[in-house]
Symmetry: C2
Subunit: 423 residues, 2 copies
């Protein structure tokens, strides 16, 4: 299952920097050159120092073979980096994004941006994912929902199939979390990165982090899977995932996935977002934010179907705002990615798959998470410890539900820092 | 708010039986007639004794004025009775049904029926709702989902509007739990029943039970609201309720509610049922029943969108089975009834409404209920006790979730019996 170390290295020496450093110690020209190199490195690292302004970069492969054996041509995914790669290339952390997320994990594209990347609270100078210390790479996945966003580079159903010149639509092959991870490995190899200090991610990003530890056990030292699990629970398969897929397919504008250049299935997609938004939030959140207040105090919902409760109106707004920038087929594919996810796929069980893990594992959950209740983190920790691995489970104290993995992640910032730097 | 005691009594004496009994004690013919009457009563009660075979009966009103002021003509609802009305008419218990339920709470229509009514485990001779002791009436509501079922008598969007000769569709007026309760009161009055020993119901039936205690505080001694609350939580407003409504309306066959005699919006309705079925069940249930097993061991879901997980296939079956016998508009109306439900409507708050309660209240909840988590039962008990009322909260130990209010109700049978007979 694990590719050989040679695979795909494409001539990049993984220990080039280290060899140079040793040569400097030994060489005759040490007295002259060493200070010069030091100055260059200092200049370079200053120039590269993370200042909170980030730029999307593109990784492209002419061909990529999926776990299923199918071959994707002209595969492109975007990525961002924060911090500076050490000369010895040994300070790399990979961040994987969640279901509806992108590689924009930290920083801003320009100072005018309204908000920074989703985990900016914990990625930056002196923060838990310390850009003064680590070189952090955040990668887009295949079939990213935000295919329409110019800052998202992905290959999925909305991409042009090079064989036909038209969007793939529902002819795009089925992909999995393991494919995402294998493609990220190719990206790292293209950058000459031989090893990861850590992989972290929340929700579907956490699925990828744990999958990394299973698929490439020698490549990664630590993983931090946040609000996630080893596999998708059958209840979650139905609600929100299958319900969301069905909603999109029910919309006549979906047209079996052939809507590109035409009216898009906005209502079906908005319905899918309503469903997933509610599941990602707790009842406590709904109570605090809306209660049973009316959307308009002058329009009593008891008087007419048109008169809404505040919670109906606000979820509508969230859902349509998201739907307008999302590709419906990509939503279907990504929901299917989650439905299929199980680190145990191809092994006799998920426990058997977890036996492969060599990385230290820090599971982070939150009590009111309907997607990935805390017991699913306990389960991972238990299995890894039974195999003499090192694993811990930490909770984000919050009544927000699943989204606390984004909105309240700073609450466990110190523990993440300690895990990365000390364990 | 509470109608006067005279309203709608239609000449039925509420104490006829009692007066006859007193006359017997006093009259000269006592020695001759008393044994005769006793024999007649014995024969009558034997003839009437509940034998588990039940018959739907119909209550009809030429006009019924809703809380909104709108008037419904030719209103009909069905009901069933179990047990025998005492001569003094003081042994009556009313059972109210849940969202997708009907008045078929116990017994069978014929010995060949596959299953009895939904609460048969606790209604019958010697059971907690003891038909040897109580006369139990179970009533249909307006806008019942099962409008197509010949054993369900209801008035709702699928009924013929007497003014047009065509089904109401979406022109049916909006109704509420309070309307259901007010109509049940008319039904009881038509039967000459002056008072209720108790009102019980699960889920939406529990909403009605509590609403009874608020709207008619002097009419009912005890209420048993099971897996329910004083009002619908804003989270539940969205999922499953609003999501279900949107799913039906998204189906092109829904046709703004005008589908009678044409193709019905089966897919949209099935989607609504998928959503509500999952919400009514716990994650533990999904795990036990399906896990991540494939629907067909020979058809790997990783290979094709057409290959399903067992949980997808089984929820599909449940959803389409239910959808085929359900009227879609009635689903929309009933979901709206729940969205609107708040005993506090028309009062300054739900607490203010609960101040009216004089009945003893036994709230019954279950730990993994996503619809009505146990804290919502605590809340009712607390408010009633603050007003010096008598209220208790009991839990059904179960990992099934909301449906435990049906499937595991017998676990609290002894407590229900004690509450009814001793408190």
């Amino acid at each position: 299952m694990e590719p050989s170390k040679e695979e795909g290295w494409e001539g990049v020496s993984s220990d080039g920097g280290w060899r140079m450093a040793n040569a400097m110690k030994e060489g005759k020209m040490k007295r002259i050159i060493a200070p010069l190199v030091a100055i260059l490195i200092l200049l370079a690292s200053h120039a590269l120092a993370y200042d909170g302004i980030v730029k999307k970069q593109v990784f492209e492969l002419p061909e990529f073979t999926l776990v299923s054996g199918k071959v994707l041509k002209q595969v492109r995914i975007g990525y961002e980096t924060y911090g500076t790669l050490s000369p010895t290339r040994d300070n790399v952390i990979l961040i994987c994004h969640f279901f509806s997320g992108t590689s924009h994990a930290a920083g801003k594209y320009s100072p005018e941006d309204k908000a920074p990347g989703y985990w900016d609270a914990i990625i930056g100078p002196g923060k838990p994912f310390d850009t003064d210390r680590y070189f952090i790479i955040s990668s887009d996945t295949l079939t990213n929902l935000n295919a329409k966003d110019p800052n998202v580079i992905t290959t999925g159903p909305a991409s042009i199939n090079p064989d036909t010149g038209r969007p793939y639509g529902m002819t795009f092959p089925q992909v999995t979390i393991r494919d995402f991870v294998r493609l990220q490995k190719k990206l790292l190899e293209s950058l000459g990165i031989p090893h990861l200090k850590a992989v972290a991610g929340l929700s579907m990003g956490g699925n990828q982090a744990l999958e990394w530890a299973v698929t490439y056990p020698d490549f990664v030292d630590k993983v931090i899977p946040v609000v996630t699990a080893s596999r998708t629970h059958p209840w979650v398969v139905i609600t929100p995932l299958k319900v969301g897929i069905d909603a999109i397919m029910l919309d006549p504008e979906w047209n079996k996935g052939d809507y590109y250049g035409k009216e898009e299935p906005l209502d079906g997609l908005a319905l899918a977002f309503k469903e997933i938004t509610a599941t990602a939030r707790s009842q406590a959140w709904a109570d605090k934010s809306f209660g049973r207040r009316w959307a308009d105090p002058a329009r009593d919902p008891y008087e007419s179907f048109e008169h809404k409760f505040l919670v109906e109106q606000e979820i509508d707004k969230i859902a349509y705002t998201r739907a307008k920038v999302t590709d419906a087929n990509s939503y279907i594919y990504m929901a299917r990615v989650l439905i299929l996810h199980d680190v145990g796929y191809g092994y006799s069980s998920f426990e058997e798959a977890l036996k492969r893990v060599k990385a230290k594992v820090l599971m982070i959950s939150t009590p009111l998470d309907l997607f990935y209740p805390p017991w699913q983190s306990d389960e991972v920790v238990e299995v890894i410890r039974q195999n003499r691995g090192e694993a811990w489970h930490l909770q984000i104290e919050s009544d927000e539900g699943h989204v606390a993995g984004t909105t309240e992640i700073q609450k466990v910032g110190e523990e993440i820092k300690r895990f990365l730097n000390e364990r």
